[in-house]
């Protein structure tokens, strides 16, 4: 019971406008498998009826709209994903940022599509493990995602056995987690480092503190070129002078942004904001409060 082309087009259009995620017709299997549970949950008979219900109530804030958007996000993630970005973080990005910020002793790091939080906590563990000198700095780890349930999970820092099996070194498991029943909880000294909130990268951005290091990994792949470019423009304005960026393994700034230099680190690389692209740093921009409500879009950087 696949969707007819008109319904598919309507749905794809809706998902694009609410999340920027592109659904091409060859993704019909994905739509089926993701939306069948949503249809059951809202009590309609199949996904064609679900799209019918969406047509009647398509505000991006409607419950049905939100459920559909959330269902179309891919939340695949794991601890220390691909390993190398975290080596780069440890050997290059953090030491550099620490030097740049030695005056005000603050560090702002952002996981811009955090999914269930593995990336944020991998960053937090890297800091705890290798940078004891940061213990008397103000280190803020921002975690955002369009999915409310993912943001909630990041905030809680609770993982299943399957999740802690993936990519997490056993030495870190025993050091930073406690087990209760079948759940694994990140210890409070890590959860308290992480400030999680919902944010649509393709929507209006809240006022963000100026970031020193941005993880924007495995999310641009879901967007079209125009959206990628628009998001990257805003990432540029969100970075502090000398700020650095890590993308996913199959992502690049090529064709998307010319504001970064691609620099080597070990046998990997990272992106550094070009001097010419940096906005002047202001003290104000670093201290901004962030992450209280998804509706706080009154001031933006764009």
């Amino acid at each position: 019971m696949a969707l007819n082309p008109a319904d598919f087009a309507y749905l794809a259009n809706y998902v694009k406008s609410s999340t920027a995620i592109i659904l091409t017709p060859d993704k019909d299997y994905l739509v089926e498998s993701r939306l069948a549970p949503v249809a059951r949950r809202v009590g309609v008979n199949g996904i064609a009826e679900l799209v019918g219900a969406l047509r009647k109530n398509s505000s991006p804030h409607s419950e049905i709209g939100q459920l559909i958007s959330e269902a179309m996000t891919t939340n695949e993630t794991y601890f220390f994903r691909d390993v190398k970005p975290f080596d780069v973080l440890k050997t290059t990005l953090l030491p550099e940022a620490i030097e740049r910020r030695s005056q005000d002793r603050t560090l702002n790091i952002w996981s811009a599509a955090c999914s269930s939080g593995q990336e944020s906590y991998s960053i937090a563990m890297t800091i705890k493990e290798h940078f004891p000198q940061l213990s008397n700095w103000r280190v803020r780890l921002f975690a955002t995602d369009i999915s409310k349930s993912m943001v909630e999970r990041t905030r809680e820092g609770i993982f299943s056995q399957i999740e802690i099996n993936r990519g997490l070194p056993a030495t870190m498991l025993v050091k930073y987690f406690t087990k209760s029943g079948s759940e694994w909880r990140v210890k409070p000294d890590l959860t308290k480092m992480v400030e999680a909130s919902t944010m649509n990268l393709a929507g209006q951005w809240p006022l963000l503190p100026r970031m020193d290091i941005v993880f924007l990994r495995n999310v641009l792949i879901y967007f079209d070129l125009d959206t990628k470019r628009a998001i990257m423009k805003k990432v540029v304005t969100s970075l502090s002078k000398g700020g650095t960026l890590l993308l996913g393994g199959s992502e690049t700034t090529m064709n998307v942004s010319s504001d970064f230099d691609r620099l080597p680190s070990g046998d990997s690389f990272y992106y550094k904001l070009k001097e010419s692209a940096a906005l002047p740093n202001s003290a104000h921009a670093r201290g901004v409060r962030f992450g209280t409500s998804p509706a706080m879009t009154s001031q933006t950087l764009s």
Partner: protein, 124 residues
Amino acid sequence: MPTALVIDDSSATRMILARILTEIGYTVEKAENGADGLEKLNAMPKPELVMVDWNMPVMNGYEFIQNARALPQYDDVTLMMVTTETEIEQVLKALEAGANEYVMKPFTKDVIHEKLILLGLGAR
């Protein structure tokens, strides 16, 4: 070609792990318990990696790790525990005995790959 040793009393698990490792280029030897594992370890070219279950008859995986770590010629062999034991105390105990990594059953192929990449192995 790097070699690996898989020690598990379940022939199904031995087969699954061996297949995962063979696919990424290992030559794999298998053993049914810790004592058998020590014998194979001694008889085969020195492996890069040993995957070992915890609960097995004759000699369990924890004892295997203790025994293997007592032999300096195997200092640089990576030992990975693959087990249904899932308490933090056990993970700690295995690490203290000299295990380099720990995987909880059930696992998938991805889990093994991700752990090998962590250890700097397998990404060839």
